[in-house]
Amino acid sequence: MVKYGKVYRPIQARTIHKSPVNVGTSVFSKIYQNKRARYSLFLILFIILIGIFAPFIAPHDPIEPHYDALLSGPSKEYILGTDALGRDLLSRLIYGIQVTIKVASIAVGITFIAGTFIGLICAYVGGVVDNILMRIMDVLLALPSIVLALAIVAILGPSLNNAMIAIGIASIPGFARLTRGAALSVKSSGYVEASRSIGSSHAWILRRQFLPNVASTVLVYTTIFIGGAILDTAALSFIGLGAQPPTPEWGSMLNEGRNYIYQAWWLAIFPGIAITVVVFAVNYLGDALRDIFDPANN
């Protein structure tokens, strides 16, 4: 028996692999086949790797001051120059990747979890619940998201964590509304109707039909929101309501740098390039993903 089992196992595996349930592979191959998605994904992964291995890559400590090299320009020792405290700019930029990864995952994580939850509930339950939740979202959407974020920071007090929470919360209404829209179109589709009429349980429909089909749209929105979250957090840090010194956050580095635009141009240039490159890559990826998953384009 054991022998037979061994013989049959690979065949079984192959059948499972071919079954239509396995959406994962086709999604990845779809993404991989798109040139723009592939390039931007590689760039993002590359940047993340640099961030993770920052302690091995950064030439200096990001916080340690070098009093013999205050505001010194790019040189062999300090490749991108130093700031007013003599801290190595390149090292601060590299460690800044870690802060950015944190921002992207926590702020967008909050938006993603709460936004998807509210959006799905609204679309699936409908009726009064939908009405009440959407009216609350309308109120929150009636403020520019950065103003809403500022209001939340005003409540919580300025810090990087609070800025991330604020940005995360401020983006929930927009995200919830988009998810609701996507979910509504799935809900009204024929196959959900059919499942319901043969008596499938709510949980089953949600898990097996609803979620997988809403997922691709939500994935696109999430990517787009990451770019916005990074920009907004940098903006809050820039005006002093986000990351506090000595955290190597790119927005607050630009804020420090703008006081020295006459003496030290590099402080006002390189952190900005860092933000722009990362956000550009994420937006580019989002754009490509939208092309891949948007049914209108197929």
Binding site: L140, L143, P144, I146, V147, V153, I269, I275, F280
Partner: protein
Amino acid sequence: MGQFIVGRILSGIVVIFGISILSFLLIHFIPGDPVRIMLGQNATPDQIERLTVYLGLDQPLLVQYGHYISNVLQGDLGTSLKTGQPVLTEILDRFPQTVKLAAAGISFAIVIGFTVGTLAAKFKDTFIDRMAMGFAMLGVSIPGFWLAILLIMVFSVKLGWFPIAEGTGLRDLVLPSITLGVLASTIISRLTRNGMVEVLSKDYIRTARAKGLDERVIIVRHALRNVLLPIVTVIGLQIAGLLGGTVILEQVFNWPGLGTLAIGAISSRDFPLIQGTVLFMGIVYVSINILVDISYGMIDPRVDLSMKEES
């Protein structure tokens, strides 16, 4: 039409009512004792007591909100803790400056957006098209405050054309409004390009070309007009969005508008002022959106207004 306008205004009022609850609750969401946080570490119990009573925080929540909303309806948004001025006076003092900045910004955005979008469509799928759309993509990815710093470095520090001043004159307006314009132009240029590409393939454009008309005339007189409509809505929404965009940029350019007022209020924990600016911005934002919706219905007779209500 009349029914739509009334409905739109009513739903706007409901939203503004919601914003008033939000701005009222702001102070109650503060973890810990809000009065202690406003007054700082060195406050005496007597000071805390007096501010608590002054702000009415010793009363039940509903009573507090009743006071708040009846004051707001009478135009009383409270008094700034820092300057002792009425909040509404402070806001109305700053508001014209923000309007000025946003108006100049949207003008730049329209000029840049139409130019870039038309060029991209005219030279579709060429190097110019890719450059233009890359520029649009860059516009959404670049932090506004950094673009501002770059412009200051080039035009103020290097070239000395626009000195970094504290004023609000025409010359001081140039750099901030260019920054805003570039940021807001990206979506306009994208829409212009896509609309233009579609229109340029239409028969009447071919007819116009066959007549031997000048290409510039074709684009401006025949094509652009037909592309305009959807873009007008977006421009309207952009104006509302610029209100948020100015908040950070005002800080970079030391522009005495609502944004610097709000950020200053947050830094000094001046809660009546924070509540007031949030409420005020919300009302302005909602009003603009209502105006945009209504004007859109008026410009384009094809728009089914009852459908718009639904979505």
